[in-house]
């Protein structure tokens, strides 16, 4: 047993020598890491939701490249294809449908929540960062050089692991995915032609005959002196049909309708037959 342990540790120390962070990887990290951070900060501070989505796409792209640098080429490509390609585009689609112009309200529903959240975030980050930094001071990385070369490499080994050790969780994800697909269809479905949403012609006819008015509303009256929509239709006894008046007129200021009113009631000046000769005053 102890001999086995000793050989294991010997193998581990041999592997440890193999996995050091090369200069190239360090350069890649110091380029990609700040870019990913910038994307996260941009997403946090962008007022426009579409800008937030694009900043997040930058972060995910950088994370994908970081995975590839970190000896996980399969996950790197899946990250770029699934996250940046599919999920972020789904986000953009929903943003275009839902909340493109609904920028965040600046009203705080819970007073002091923003400040508390920022304090919490800084505290949490400090706690986790210091804990991780202290916990990993003497830990040397083993590296995946062996797993990524023997037995067909990274992808083949992940596949073997999925279909042997993780077979049951893998089957569970199929149930999860089909549930998610059905759930999205149920939640996103809206039947515009369902019964009761849009009235059929028959329903409209029945409604009209059973209601209190079998005919359409009277149109506005048209007289020789006025064809404005403000002109009311006249009933056979000469009185004004109130239904012929547009609702627009009720909501319009009375002063702006004074001319039309005068015209209908006959108190306005008629057309001046002597306007050009200027002899009206003489006749009067």
């Amino acid at each position: 047993m102890s001999a086995l342990f000793l050989t294991q540790t010997a193998a581990q120390t041999a592997a440890q020598a193999a996995d050091t962070v090369s200069t190239g990887e360090a350069i890649a990290f110091w380029i990609l890491g700040p870019l990913a951070l910038a994307g996260a900060l941009g997403m946090l501070f962008a007022r426009n939701a579409v800008h937030s989505a694009l900043w997040l796409a930058l972060t995910m792209l950088n994370l994908g490249v970081i995975y590839m640098v970190q000896q996980a080429p399969f996950l790197g490509f899946v990250q770029i294809i699934v996250y940046t390609g599919a999920i972020m585009m789904l986000f953009l689609f929903v943003l275009m449908l839902v909340g493109r112009d609904s920028s965040d309200s600046v009203v705080e529903v819970l007073r002091g929540q923003r400040l508390a959240a920022i304090v919490f975030g800084v505290g949490f980050a400090g706690l986790v960062v210091s804990a991780v930094a202290r916990a990993l001071t003497n830990v040397t990385s083993v590296g995946l050089a062996k797993q990524n070369t023997v037995n067909g490499g990274n992808v083949a080994n992940i596949g073997t692991s999925l279909f042997t050790d993780f077979l049951f969780p893998f089957e569970l994800t199929s149930a999860l995915l089909i549930t998610a697909a059905i759930g999205a269809m149920v939640l996103g479905f809206s039947d515009r032609n369902a019964k009761g949403v849009k009235k059929t012609q028959r329903e409209l006819v029945e409604e009209r005959f059973q209601g209190n008015r079998p005919s359409p509303l009277p149109g506005p009256g048209v007289f020789a002196t006025a064809n404005s929509v403000a002109t009311p239709a006249l009933l056979p006894d000469g009185s004004i049909a109130p239904e012929s008046l547009s609702e627009l007129i009720e909501s319009t200021a009375k002063e702006s309708l004074a001319d039309d009113l005068a015209e209908v009631s006959g108190t306005a000046d008629g057309p001046d037959a002597h306007a050009l000769s200027g002899t009206k005053e003489d006749l009067a």
């Binding site: 994370l63 980050a125 040397t140 759930g183």
Partner: protein, 99 residues
């Protein structure tokens, strides 16, 4: 430089996502912040896989991606149906279950 720098980056990204969930009011943006947190955890899983010399961490990250995809689909469908009935995508307006 050691691989633990990746874990520090992951912790900072996770905290930024958590602050975003607490601060932002647009439901879609809140959802994006949740995605950022999931991505940060994925980064730490990939780094742990490398430090331990085992592919199990990468398989875990793969499962996290699958669950995140399912979650995004259902969550966005819920946001859509809420928007259809209430004409708002703000998390402050969805208060029917409050009392």
């Amino acid at each position: 430089m050691t691989p633990s720098y990746y874990l520090l980056l992951s912790a900072v990204l996770f905290s930024l996502g958590a602050v975003g969930v607490l601060v932002r009011r647009n439901a879609v943006v809140v959802f994006m912040c949740v995605e950022l947190m999931l991505n940060a955890v994925n980064l730490s899983l990939v780094t742990f896989a490398r430090i331990n010399g085992s592919l199990d961490g990468q398989v875990m990250a793969f499962f996290v991606m699958v669950v995140a995809a399912a979650e995004v689909v259902v969550g966005l469908a819920i946001i859509m149906s809420i928007f259809r009935t209430r004409r708002s995508a703000s998390v402050d307006d969805s208060n029917l279950l409050k009392y």
